[in-house]
């Protein structure tokens, strides 16, 4: 049971019943299975950490929603190997020192069988490095640095680390593959002033140059974490007369940037605006009707893609449970728990070594579509859509129109990850 969610026991039990019904409808579970359900025995525990305070506190809450729903459904379907699933959330506060302490708490004190979560790339790397000391699996559900799978897993052979969410390839490479078809020759960047911002812009430039040697990168401006006033950045970049702007600002900063850019008349002047995290639920909802239409955005999962039964049913159940549409962090956390269940049952045990073997190469069907974990770097591969922001009468926020999905094999980097 999540000690740090505000969601109480009664809600949990009631929801379990609803979850059972929901899964019947989704065809995920045969009627007989539910009746035989009631999990018993030593619980399987997942320790989950994310940002629960400060300016990014909402992202932790998105993870809690997805995790809670997954646990309720898993327990309604008989648990993991017949045992009940329990989980606990802790606040990483975006501080590697705190995150390392939390990871140790989960494994040494809480008795976690698995560790999931993590929003920040720096934290993912710091915690990733100590997982071999703790000898448990870490399933990252957000932190996107490519150093996690390329360096830690592939080059250093750290087999305890997995990631279910798409890495920065989506932000830096897939974006360029969409942008290569635009009639834009002059690109500029407004990015967050830390690794994620630098890496995604570099990947974007390198990839785009391969397809379009004629493009120029005319300006860049870097906003430190916590910037609320983007005026100086917008002004600096627009002075170089770009035709297209690429930005990897996300969460609240993306909302502030778009609002302010709109006031500065940016969208009337440039031809294209590309924001890989601009399609995240919090940004779509935060901007509402203030989000200009026609901007190219994406997200690590978007609730209307793919249009499969599994996804639609998930979105319905999620909306019924929480009164909102699932954020990508909710879907990745939800799927992470189902992945761990699937792998444990494949392995017939929750022992780390056996589950690692089961996860390698494993394919799962999740709301985000078909996902499989690469053996070489433990990174999950799945398709993520790009689209133009578009008004839709059904929703109070913009949706993604003109959907395009770049096939994962084309934009994911592959071992040996050189060049």
């Amino acid at each position: 049971m999540g000690k740090h969610s505000r969601f109480n026991r009664r809600e949990f039990l009631g929801a379990m019943a609803a979850a059972g019904g929901g899964m019947l409808a989704a065809g995920l579970v045969r009627p007989g299975e539910i009746r035989a359900a009631k999990p018993s025995g030593k619980p399987v525990k997942i320790g989950h950490q994310c940002v629960l305070s400060g300016v990014l506190g909402g992202y932790g809450q998105f993870m809690q929603m997805g995790a809670t729903l997954a646990a309720e459904e898993i327990n309604a379907a008989g648990g993991i190997l017949g045992r009940p699933l329990e989980f606990e959330f802790r606040d990483s506060q975006v501080k590697p020192a705190v995150a390392v302490k939390n990871a140790r708490y989960f494994v040494d004190k809480y008795g976690a069988d698995f560790h999931a979560g993590i929003d920040s790339s720096g934290v993912a790397l710091a915690v990733g490095k100590i997982m071999p000391q703790l000898k448990k699996i870490l399933m990252v559900t957000h932190g996107a640095t490519e150093k996690y799978n390329e360096q830690l897993v592939y080059k250093e052979g750290n087999k305890y680390l997995f990631r279910i969410s798409v890495p920065v390839y989506q932000d830096g490479i897939a974006s360029a593959m969409i942008a290569k078809d635009f009639p834009v020759k002059r690109w500029a960047n407004i990015g967050p002033k830390y690794e994620y911002g630098y890496t995604s812009w570099q990947m974007f430039k390198d990839t785009l140059k391969k397809f379009r040697p004629d493009v120029e990168f005319v300006e860049e401006s870097w906003a430190p974490f916590g910037t609320t006033d983007f005026g100086p950045h917008i002004s600096k970049v627009m002075a170089a007369n770009p035709e297209g702007i690429f930005t990897t600002e996300w969460a609240g900063e993306a909302v502030a940037l778009v609002k302010q850019a709109k006031l500065f008349g940016v969208f009337g002047k440039i031809k294209e605006w590309v924001n890989p995290m601009g399609g995240a639920m919090d940004v779509l909802e935060g901007l509402g009707k203030d989000y200009p239409e026609g901007l190219w955005v994406s997200s690590r999962y978007w609730f209307l893609y793919p249009p499969t039964n599994i996804n639609e049913s998930f979105v319905q159940r999620f909306h019924k449970r929480w009164g909102r549409y699932p954020h990508y962090s909710s879907e990745t956390s939800y799927s992470a728990y189902w992945a761990l269940k699937q792998a444990s049952e494949l392995a017939g045990s929750t022992e780390t070594e056996k589950v690692i073997k089961a996860l390698e190469g494993m394919t799962m069907i999740s709301p985000a579509g078909r996902r499989w974990f690469r053996k070489e770097d433990h990174q999950a591969v799945y398709e993520v859509p790009w689209g133009r922001t578009k008004a839709d009468p059904k929703y109070p926020f913009r949706i993604l129109g003109d959907l395009r999905a770049v096939p994962a094999e084309l934009y994911y980097r592959h071992p040996p990850f050189d060049a």
């Binding site: 400060g54 002033k193 430190p224 006033d229 005026g231 100086p232 006031l263 500065f264 008349g265 935060g286």
Partner: protein
Amino acid sequence: MFEQLLFQGLVGLSLAMYLWLVSAGLTLIFGVLGVLNFAHGSLYMLGAYFGYSAVRVLGVSFWVGLAVAPLLVALVGGFIERFFIRRVYHIDVAYQLLLTFAFILIFADLVKWYWGPIYQSAPVPAGLSGALPILGRPFPVYNLFVMALGPLAALGLWLLLEKTWWGRTVRAAAGDREMAGAIGVNVPQLFTGVFMFGSWLGAVGGALGIPIRTVSPGMAEDYIIQAFAVAVIGGLGNLKGAFIGSVLIGLVNAYGHLYAPVFELAFMYILMAAILILRPQGIFGTSQ
């Protein structure tokens, strides 16, 4: 090229005026009460949240929210001063800092508990969503509005403190607490009033920001350090200095992006340290 420089300067000035509006209350409170109020960041945040709720939840216009929210925050400020800060006037400055710091922690969680941890955003009010062509490029009306409010507030404060009876009494009490009390001024009540006024100012800054910024439980921590920097650079307690200090920081911020973006994060702190080392009384302060 020259137009670009000028335009960037205007952007810096609108940043500066916003910073001034947010920090004026902090400076006033320090100048009169001698308290460096960490909680000013929280009161700023409450102004933003109350304004946001007025617009998003109650559905009133941004202008109504801007008028009403700061009044509520002034009440909160009065409560804090009357029941907590008043107890620590006579003890070491360190304890005053720690007391007001406690409020940052408390308010951060109260806000998170009531409004949730997810950042929120309100729509841009219709009257402020346009742009005027300046130097050949669109300059937001919103920024012009803030740039106008800044000097207006400065003028208003000056008039209040120099020309009204209340203002003169406040200045007297700031200069010599005991003497003011001796001649019959109800100093504790006056101080509460000043604290409420300073809180009101900070909250106006907060509510003013919601059209273009997001509100989140973590926003107090970010802004309070900037407000401290402004207060220090201008000379702690000196309103004229705070105004100039804001302009300095705003311009350094705007031009720094153009010329030396590598050091950008450290600019404000370097300036702060330089003033403290070379001229601690600030730009306009008198040496003690």
